[in-house]
């Protein structure tokens, strides 16, 4: 029995990259419906639990002169 046959016998199938992309699109669709299209920035950094430091980009925009 080849490894491919052994894997198929117990129902293992590696996903193609296209299928993984489709899964990520599926996640995006559900997150967008619940959290809105800007879900990648959810929650606002200042509202994140345990986040006592300023957003990382804040330090780069401060005029240090």
């Amino acid at each position: 029995m080849t490894r491919k046959e052994a894997r198929a016998r117990v129902g293992i199938r590696d996903l193609k990259s296209k299928e993984i992309d489709e899964l990520k699109e599926f996640v995006d669709e559900i997150y967008t419906r619940v959290l809105g299209p800007d879900w990648r920035n959810f929650p606002a950094k200042s509202a994140k639990p345990g986040n006592s430091t300023p957003p990382s980009d804040a330090s780069t925009t401060v005029d240090k002169r």
Partner: protein, 265 residues
């Protein structure tokens, strides 16, 4: 071939459950949500999720099990993660997905042991993660996702599922079960685990209890089947039985990442 990562359970808590399996499966949206209907998944999550049950003080991100199951996309874990993220103010992670299809929903116990889910995708280092799935049965998916999250230098703090099969909320085997497994199948259960890609200390409670009930010949069949699937060379490295009893070889098990310095958080 995808690699399976696991680590010993440490003090990983019991799975937090929101409803019973019968209540979940009786929900009018269950079948559609399981088959990939986002609207059905969201309706189901909104009705069954109880955010007040999640009481971890330091969780800041949420990772659902994103998987195809026999070719269908399961909307339930993603919808539950979205609802919990919204209610609890958690960062929703949408980058980690399963990288194989193992069709666990209708699988028997040996197939669940042999066909381990593998994951891909990155997560922010040091994220403190809550894992979300729809139903926990053997706990294999949660164990493997937890390992992948740690492999990405984040930390899985806990896990929540809409429902759990009987005896499935405790992922860590009790000490008595681990001792019995060592007494009955010391070499065999470790050979099987190492062929799958992890150490014998990483079995889930249900996996360990299933293996404990098996006669030696079944353990041998499982090892042979695992070798056919994953290859003999995939093992983490075998040691003789006498050596195994004299050493605790956990040096190559992934350690949980240490907390970063405050200025890197």
């Amino acid at each position: 071939m995808p690699t399976i990562y696991r680590l010993p359970w440490g003090d990983f808590p019991d799975v937090i459950v929101h409803a019973t399996v019968s209540k979940l499966k009786a929900h009018p949206d269950y079948a559609s949500a399981k088959a990939g209907d986002p609207s059905a998944g969201i309706r189901l999550a909104l009705e069954l999720v109880k955010p007040e049950k999640i009481t971890f003080p330091i969780v800041d991100a949420i990772v659902p099990v994103v998987q195809p199951d026999a070719g269908r996309k399961n909307a339930i874990p993603i919808a539950v993660a979205a609802v919990l993220a919204q209610r609890l103010g958690l960062e929703p992670v949408g980058t980690i997905t399963q990288s194989n299809d193992v069709a666990h929903t209708s699988a028997n116990a040996p197939s669940r042991i042999l066909a381990q889910p593998a994951f891909s995708g990155k997560i922010r280092p040091y994220a403190r993660v809550l894992i979300v799935d729809d139903v926990v049965t053997f706990g294999s998916t949660i164990a493997d996702l937890r390992g992948w999250i740690h492999q990405q230098r984040a930390v899985a703090i806990g896990c929540t599922c809409l429902a759990a099969a009987f005896g499935s909320t405790k992922l860590k085997p009790p000490e008595s079960i681990r001792e019995q497994l060592d007494q009955h199948h010391y070499n065999a259960h470790r050979d099987l685990a190492e062929t799958l890609g992890f150490f014998g200390e990483c079995w889930t409670n249900r996996e360990a209890r299933f293996l404990l009930q098996q006669p030696p010949e079944t353990m041998l069949q499982l090892i042979q089947a695992a070798q056919a699937i994953y290859g003999i060379g995939y093992s983490l490295g075998r040691t003789e039985h006498s050596q195994r009893h004299s050493q605790t070889d956990l040096t190559r098990v992934q350690e949980p990442p240490k907390e970063p310095p405050a200025h890197e958080r």
